[in-house]
Subunit: 200 residues, 4 copies
């Protein structure tokens, strides 16, 4: 018989994760302290280290959970459509929406993790790969159906799309300007599918 019930352990785990999410979101990784997180979660400092390897592991767990959630959402939205253009626009829209609904977590990932050395080979990187591979899959499908030209480089497109969105969402994430989700999704879809030049 364990000293505490599995339910309570799970509650603790969730409480710590939630506290960390809030603290990291509000103050960033460096700015937040284990002591603060423990206080919010109403646990002792040391207990955090029983549930998570260290402060960094806590950050990764927060983002892991985040990615699990948005990955399911993305797949649901994208594969609910059949035509490539609809799928692409759905992907763009959904991805933009994440920046609106989870602004702090997005900033956290971009600012504190994606550029760090321990990102390489991490579980977060694997989640990111799965997330962006949704685009690669729909492009490959569309090449088969003839909707997309066969000489298109899917990985370049992936970089273009996710790089572009991150770039334009960054202003919003940092509290300046707004993010017109539907309109941007339409425009970006058109730009990528049709190109910007008059004649070709």
């Amino acid at each position: 018989m364990p000293a505490i019930s599995p339910e309570r352990m799970q509650d603790r785990y969730d409480a710590i994760l939630d506290a960390a999410k809030r603290a990291f979101a509000e103050r960033g990784f460096e700015g937040a302290s284990i002591a603060e997180i423990a206080r919010i979660a109403q646990i002792s400092d040391g207990l955090a280290y029983r549930y998570f390897r260290n402060k960094r592991g806590l950050l990764f767990a927060v983002l892991q959970k985040f990615y699990e959630r948005i990955l399911v959402d993305l797949e649901t939205q994208v594969f609910g459509k059949n035509r490539f253009r609809d799928r692409l626009e759905a992907l763009i829209r959904r991805h933009l929406e994440v920046f609106v609904s989870d602004t702090d977590l997005c900033r956290l990932f971009i600012a504190e993790v994606r550029g760090a050395s321990d990102y390489e080979g991490s579980a977060i990187q694997e989640m990111n790969r799965r997330y962006t591979s949704v685009l690669v899959r729909i492009v490959k499908d569309a090449v088969k159906t003839g909707e997309v030209r066969s000489d298109v480089n899917p990985k370049l497109l992936r970089d273009v799309l996710f790089g572009a969105i991150e770039h334009l969402a960054w202003r919003y994430v940092n509290g300046r300007g707004q993010l017109r989700v539907a309109q941007t999704a339409r425009e970006l879809t058109a730009m990528l599918t049709n190109g910007i030049c008059v004649d070709r």
Copy 2:
């Protein structure tokens, strides 16, 4: 009458800046210490605070100087061409080249400054604006000459292009993969000018 000549002051300034550039490039902002920078520049710790407000100001000065240099290079390359496609490809190629020639400074900017709160309203941000506005200018010119469709959103294109390049250069900056400058410039130009779809 100053105690030291203006020339010597400038030398000092340059020496500190150069030392900071090296230290920040090698160890990142947090990893570098004022003591180390002072040692490289062969000055005392305290003197650094006479030339720069604080460690952060030193970082900004390093990147300011960097931006001044690459801005001139970009304009030279881009406006040396006449046709829009050539200008676009030149811009992309030049921007990619910067990631190759100044890898550390690019990582520095992306990882340590662009996501920070003090970037907003800073001189660095202004330099970044000037740098990316080169693209906006050539697009507007091309709309006038009929090379680019008039319904293209220049700012969206700017985000797409610079976001895309940053995204694909990030792998290279972090030491994994290589950066095929010429080929990527060609492919990306084609993707943006022609679009990815077969019919439109």
Copy 3:
């Protein structure tokens, strides 16, 4: 009626003691943790505190058991001889052998216990007293038989002998140099019995 059989309790006790012996020997007292000992003994952390007062008590129990073993061995060897010189050499040889066969436990005792304040009045100290009193006994016997001068101070001799051996064994215990047991026993016996000076 106990919840577990006395046999099982004894097994537990022995398992913990053995685990502690290994952990302390490998990492020293500070370096070893209760958690590690519990893991080796396949018990929980808390259970260790039912069998031993605390970490320190565990260490003392380990050394207590050790002393019980070497005390019997020493008496067997020493009192198997009749002449004083033979007894003395046997004692020295046996004592030196312990440093070779139980190097880690010797270091543990010397480094972590003998200099500590809680050694005073402890059961370990009592064991040590019994161990060293073997020398005192054979000296007193030898004074009666006329083998040893009656003005010899047995306690001073005890300090000289055990201090000397510890001093010369310390190098060996710490991994530098070797310990020539038989030769050292002979030389040391001669030095103490005959003295170092030519005339007297």
Copy 4:
């Protein structure tokens, strides 16, 4: 011109060293904290790290200074005599006196340094070597003059003597029993020079 005078630096250095000596002596190495030492020396915590590498370095510096002092004293006393027995007795007496006059430093060295891994190859070890080599020197001299038998192993004698003294002084150092310096010096000298046996 330095920011503070060399005299003031030396004063600081001495103050820290003295504070450390007191703190270590009273509470042992672990028991003393940098904060406490800094408070006694009336400096800030951080400043201690400018004068000494770390807490361990501080301890070594304290003992280094101690050894320098007692080495000079020992040589003065020992080489003030001519005959071997007088020299030996002077060495023993002087060494015993150190345990009386600098009890805490002796305990510090024995308990906290001599058994530690960083002692090996340290400056302290070198000082210790010089200190004990005084005995080796007088023995070799005495072999030449015929006072000591030529088959005596000087290094074994060194271990016997210093090991013996440490052993018998340990009780005193730990506050139990007293240390009869003159009497012990006489007895020990006799024991070592004449041996303990009646006939040989």
